[in-house]
């Protein structure tokens, strides 16, 4: 009986997408992001740069979900202020993203549900301001039915009120903020650094880590211990992670 229930639960989960960053995969239930579930992302604050960091984080995940050739991710949004060359530099080239522009959040969520159930997309990303618990439940159901991952990027509605405070049935909920990056030896801007905070996940603890921003393939990385030295190969799994929230 219990085995059957476990098997049923396992069958509803899709293939797991690991981050390739030791501590993150270690702390995530299942060792990565569920390929048939709803994941929420929000900026750590309403500021524009946190907003951009969270967008890039979502784009990085989407580009790794859409890594196979000839598959596309759907990016649904109501107000178009994305800059597509920037998305390409997070791994989501123009042949890999299909944009859908809805008039309202409600219409957008309906579009996403249709797209998820269809199952022909590698990933669905939606930028919304308002999504209540019912909406997230519907998205989660559609994602597990269509075996398509859903990333819900929640934008700030009011200054200072985190959108992740609303109840939701997402598998994981991430909050991304920018941090000051390490200084290079020469003048110039290096790779960005983020505070990646997993606010809530099903079947696992929340945590918070300082990570390097995603590269042109959408991969995150652990920051090197010092500015000049790379992480020693054996240390990736034992590196101390930040405070658990």
């Amino acid at each position: 009986m219990l085995r059957a229930a476990v098997a049923r639960a396992a069958a509803s989960r899709g293939p797991v997408l690991p981050f390739g960053v030791g501590p993150v995969d270690h702390l995530l239930a299942g060792g990565g992001l569920d390929g048939a579930g709803l994941h929420e992302v929000a900026g750590a604050s309403a500021s524009w740069s946190d907003d951009a960091a969270a967008t890039l984080f979502a784009a990085g995940i989407a580009s790794r979900f859409a890594a196979a050739p000839d598959v596309s991710a759907l990016w649904a949004l109501t107000r178009f202020d994305l800059y597509a060359p920037g998305l390409e530099q997070a791994g989501l080239g123009p042949d890999r993203v299909l944009y859908a522009q809805g008039r309202t959040d409600k219409e957008l969520l309906a579009l996403c549900e249709d797209a998820l159930r269809d199952g022909s997309l590698a990933c669905v990303v939606a930028e919304v301001k308002a999504a209540d618990q019912t909406a997230t439940r519907r998205l989660q159901l559609a994602a597990s039915e269509g075996h398509t991952p859903m990333i819900l990027y929640r934008r700030y509605r009011r200054y200072g009120q985190c959108p992740l405070a609303d109840p939701s049935l997402a598998m994981t909920r991430w909050r991304i903020g920018t941090l000051s990056s390490g200084r290079l030896a020469s003048p110039g801007v290096g790779r960005g650094r983020w505070n990646v905070e997993l606010v809530r996940q099903r079947g696992g603890p929340p945590f918070s880590l300082e990570l390097e921003a995603c590269d042109d393939q959408g991969r995150l990385a652990l920051p090197a211990a010092t500015a000049d030295r790379a992480v020693a190969p054996g240390r990736t799994d034992t590196v101390a992670f930040g405070h658990a929230a």
Partner: protein, 515 residues
């Protein structure tokens, strides 16, 4: 118009109007505006190095200007002359349309003949229009209303009809059975559709009229003018048959159901649509076509009609998929008192060959097909809501992006660092402290907050595109990527290169943000 609850359909007026275009319904072609006024007018086309006259209006013909003479010669003869450029493609399009109209309305066998004529095979069809004379008169009237002048010749062979229509002189020439040889005799040789070399050879031998050929022995004639000349002659006189390759008019695939009882419920409408789709898909499969758009017309009892249109991103004849598209729109049909006829037509079709079955079996390597999803989403949000972005070759960031179709495979951009989000309109910075000419700012204020910059990259110099606006002739933007103290990364630019004044006023702007 109504009797016993049934719509009666009048016969289409075949001499009254020309359909606007083949393959689409409705619409009547407007008559051509007159090409010439009182002044003599000629049409000129460039052939090789010379401008030749290809057509002349009656006034110009009276002045001695004939098709085939050099345009310069014509202008020398008549100084007060209007010249028009020849449009052979448009002429050909008109001829094709007339041929299609003829094939649809007058005779099953119609073809375009040369660059200036039509062949209609009238065998067994003229009695429908009141005899040959009456048909020819109505045909001339129809063409006159469209703005054409025409000559009609009805003969027993296509060759004779061709020759008499062009060289016979009269507006309508109807040849009695078997009179071809006699009627052709006084005509010039050019009427026989001979090759130019054959005509030149005949001119050398002094043969001018077709009658000159009749007494000649066939062997030497074939040697001197070529076998095809003899064949043309025989075809014109009716000794050798000459088939006409007819144009095949395109009929819009259509399915129609007249209902015994008017319907008004969504379930019934859905059922009828499913039946119509079944009929239509069968017809499409027979003709190897796929639809790009479908129009459903619902005729109501109160004579109102409801139209529902669906479009597809790629040609398809999948009834299940098309049904799903219609199901999204059934609620937009207002049945009123009831719907008594439903017609499903495919105004936009494309060739769709059967797919090899191997591609279907090999599911592991096959990329998922997005077209059904795109149609479904477009049905919900509108066609314009789904798009991809493709690159335009422009260095100005806001111009580098264009929308493309949802199934396009666009190319990417160069790999210069670009922000993830960009302001629609750059916003001015205030309180900027920066070393000129090529250092990023040390501090700046934007939207009421001041930022201290800890690192910066740049400048990336982007020049204005003078070919778009004269104001951009000297304009320069120097872009910098800067990081502020708490990790914010912005994309700023300064107008002007700080060396030459006319490149810009050195004001600073915020344009985008990196994560």
């Amino acid at each position: 118009m109504r009797e016993l609850g049934r719509r009666s359909e009048a016969a289409a007026p075949v001499f009254r109007a020309l359909r606007s275009d083949d393959g689409t319904s409705g619409g009547i072609a407007a008559p051509l505006p007159p090409l010439w006024g009182l002044r003599p007018t000629i049409v000129v086309a460039r052939t090789g190095q010379r401008d030749l006259v290809t057509a002349a209006c009656p006034a110009a013909l009276d002045l001695g200007l004939v098709p085939g003479m050099a345009a310069a010669h014509a202008r020398a003869l008549v100084s007060d002359l209007d010249l028009l450029d020849a449009a052979p493609d448009a002429d050909r399009a008109w001829l094709d349309r007339l041929a299609f109209h003829a094939a649809r309305c007058w005779t099953p066998t119609a073809a375009v003949s040369g660059t200036d004529g039509l062949w209609l095979d009238l065998s067994g069809t003229t009695h429908l229009f009141g005899g040959e004379e009456r048909f020819a008169a109505r045909l001339l009237g129809f063409l006159r209303r469209l703005g054409f002048t025409a000559r009609v010749a009805i003969a027993g062979t296509p060759g004779a009809a061709h020759a008499l229509a062009r060289y016979g002189g009269a507006g309508v020439r109807i040849l009695p059975e078997g009179g071809e040889s006699e009627a052709l005799a006084p005509l010039p040789l050019a009427a026989l559709r001979l090759a130019p070399e054959a005509l030149a050879a005949a001119a050398r031998f002094g043969i001018e009229r077709i009658a000159d050929l009749y007494p000649m022995p066939r062997g030497p004639l074939a040697r001197r003018l070529g076998r095809s000349a003899v064949e043309r002659l025989d075809q014109a006189r009716g000794f050798v048959p000459e088939p006409i390759v007819p144009v095949v008019p395109f009929d819009m695939p259509e399915a129609r159901r007249s209902l015994l009882e008017p319907i008004g419920t969504a379930e019934a409408i859905e059922q009828v649509i499913a039946d119509l789709l079944g009929d239509l898909v069968l017809a499409l499969r027979e003709r190897s076509l796929g639809v790009r758009s479908l129009v459903l017309r619902c005729d109501r009892l109160d004579m109102g009609a409801q139209f529902v249109t669906v479009g597809t991103a790629r040609a398809t004849r999948d009834a299940k998929h098309l049904m799903r598209l219609f199901r999204l729109r059934i609620d937009r049909i207002e049945p009123g008192l009831g719907i008594e006829t439903m017609v499903l037509a495919a105004p936009q079709v494309e060739a769709l060959a059967p797919e090899a079955i191997a591609a279907v079996l090999d599911t592991a390597r096959q990329a998922p097909d997005l077209a059904p999803l795109v149609d479904a989403l477009a049905g919900r949000a509108g066609d314009a809501a789904l798009f991809r972005l493709s690159a335009i070759e422009s260095d100005v960031p806001e111009r580098a992006i264009a929308r493309a179709g949802p199934l396009a495979k666009p190319a990417g951009w160069p790999v210069w660092p670009r922000p993830i989000r960009m302001l629609a309109r750059p916003e001015a910075l205030s309180g900027v402290v920066a070393l000129l000419p090529d250092h990023p700012p040390r501090r700046f204020a934007w939207r009421g907050r001041s930022y201290a910059v800890v690192a910066g990259d740049g400048p990336e110099r982007i020049h204005g595109e003078w070919w778009r606006r004269p104001g951009e002739m000297w304009a320069v933007r120097d872009y910098f990527r800067v990081e502020a103290t708490s990790g914010e990364r912005f994309w700023l630019f300064r107008r002007g290169d700080a060396i030459t004044d006319k490149t810009g006023d050195l004001s600073w702007y915020m344009h985008g943000v990196f994560g």
